[in-house]
Amino acid sequence: MRASLSELTKRFHQVLPEDAVLVKHEQLAPYECDGLTAYRQVPRVALLPATSEQVRAAVALCRELELPIVARGAGTSLSGGALPHPEGVLLNFARLNRVLEIDPQNRTATVEPGVRNLAISEAARPYGLYYAPDPSSQIACTIGGNIAENSGGIHCLKYGLTVHNIQALKVLTTDGEILELGGKHLESPGFDLLALMNGSEGMLGVVLQATVKLLPQPHARKVLLAAFSDVRDAGNAVAAIISHGIIPAGLEMMDHFTIQATEQYCSPGYPKDAAAILICELDGYEEELANQTERARQLLEQHQATQVRLASNEQEAEVLWQGRKAAFPALGNLTPDYYCMDGTIPRKHLAEVLEEIYALSGKFGLRVANVFHAGDGNLHPLILYDANEQGQLEKAEEFGSEILQLCVRMGGTITGEHGVGVEKLNQMCVQFNSKELQTFYAIKSAFDEHGLLNPGKAIPTLHRCAEFGAMHVHEGKLPHADLPRF
């Protein structure tokens, strides 16, 4: 039987301090959405545990009362990963925010899940070390959320995603078991559950503690800006740099519309008439850097860059990056709402996909801006719309859905780093067939038999796919024709 709110409050107060149990609407409202604001839902209860023991006790109680659990770090997810469940508990990790240990000898940091991404690098700085993955929200987002989403960032082209930088996790299952995965040593026997946890969107277990890999800070960096009069040339320049054996620390592209918006917003000095610009950052050992920078410059020029500018000092480099980092707010200034997509494609299709996105923009009558991680083919088209205008949100979502299906057609994926969450469930049906989805369900139930963790996220039900499939007929064939229709 569904427990009453007063009953829930009483039970949670038995295991958590009074101020760690929130049940009033005004207390719950801040948690009604994450970075994807189009979806909103208040939970029944929000909990603020301050220790691992309190988390264990809270999860045990949720298990007993059969309450769905949604874990939340800073709530910066762009896919609704931390959207509360209407019948459930929101487990907020804000108070589990201690850096437990920096081990310079073994180059690791052990932290609680609510520690902010940037706080790890700050704690490691005195030792000349840092934590490499740097999602754009790094001043706010937490390591627990980064693990759930396998977050990337500007520098993951060279230094890898979260999965490449996590050495150990302490994970609580809904059975109340604690799984110790990995360690300060590099590999552990058995299946690679450490890899599986990364990007599992809070569906498999609750992270209680993480040990991350720290890297030595690079000697120096060089930042190049290249302008192009044709998007196609910029796309080809990206492919050329990578294929010539240069792995930049970051390689970002901005299109004409984004350049205009950014110049208007903070004047970073980008060439306003360019069809596209590339920002290329190289870092590493000083001797190596000069050599690589020169080769990158030559390649950019060979690919018809109309100008190539090298930041002559750290301050100039920072100004070049400022524009890139301000691109989203700059575009936000021009529109009441935007919808940020996250498809990834093989680099060689960059120009083709961009042209098709512009064509779709015409078809839907919505403006689109492109600013993205070109080096790894991770697109972030921003669809500009006005939610107050009847039907525009639906139109934007349909536009986005077509972009993602285009990415899958080009050999790419529907999400590079933002996750599926509640947002891309339908597109999952395009990328995976029913047998593959059934494999996902089986993995889920191997960890979370009762399905309490983040229900309804990340993996669509077959029923949903059947319904979505019925609306989207490809080449005259229904996907999942073998499935019963409800």
Partner: protein, 351 residues
Amino acid sequence: MTDTKETIAARIRDAARHKTALQLLGGNTKAFYGRSIQATPLCLADYSGVVEYEPSELYITARCGTPLTAIEQIIGEENQMLPFEPPHFGTTATLGGAIAAGLAGPGRVSSGTVRDSMLGAEIINGKGEYLCFGGKVMKNVAGYDVSRLMCGALGTLGVLMSVTLRLLPKPQCEQTVVIAEAPVDAIHKMNAWALTPMPITATFHDGKSLYVRLTGSSSTIEKCQDEIGGERIEQSELFWIRVREQTHEAFASDAPLWRIQVPPSTDPLDITGPCAMEWNGALRWHATHTDASTIREVTRQAGGQACQFRGPAIEHVFNPLPSALLKIHQRLKHAFDPEGILNPGKMYPQF
């Protein structure tokens, strides 16, 4: 290529129907690794060939029966390499075997292990179902990361049909320097250098001397050598192949060979017999007759794991799993291979 995915899937479905245990065989070069099992061989070397290779995209898709040497030759012509430098342990080694074994070579600390380069996998599960996970792109968070889960699973979760791997450009130059150094000092030095941005891409200690591989432009290497000291060796590339393939004399002992993983800065372990080190000290190779429980206790105290890499058959080749972890393993095994026909017992006696 005479086998197709349909014929292989049909054989697996047939085995599942009859509950016939299968032993997955690629080039049969790493059968020594893991527990020894008796089962009907399922030969997979015939399912071979490169499906797609895009040098500018830094990835290759190949069928898993493709010989490792063929892959390395094709990508070598474009000056690219497999980042994890997999050991072959024989001329017939296949791509699938390297992925299933999950073993990485000398460059592990700079460019990661097998799963770090895994982008996508097509597999046949124990029910004979053909499934695709991951893709061709570096960043991909759609669905659980099943393709990485296949790395090092020793074929117990599915038959690898084809994989897509990330590649790396080969470095411009490579040089190796050697310094006479006692183990304890070598551990100290490797971990001190690891705190600097010097492009050290491999380290090896053979018991007496420390070998350090430097990559980059020739001027970079020169500058690093000034900092590190030591003498350059001839034929650097060949040297690291001998380390990787364990044909280096440090691996000459007939005693059982233990592959021990510890936090890199751990002092030399109190285990009798010769010891070689890689990965800045994180990987220790002990050739020893010391019994398994003593070795496991010493490594446990150091915060590590011990695997009997080569040696006589024993119950637990890998560290036994704690009960909570074992339960998850058994459930995952059941999810992928409900009849338990794929390499049963290869990793742990319970599945």
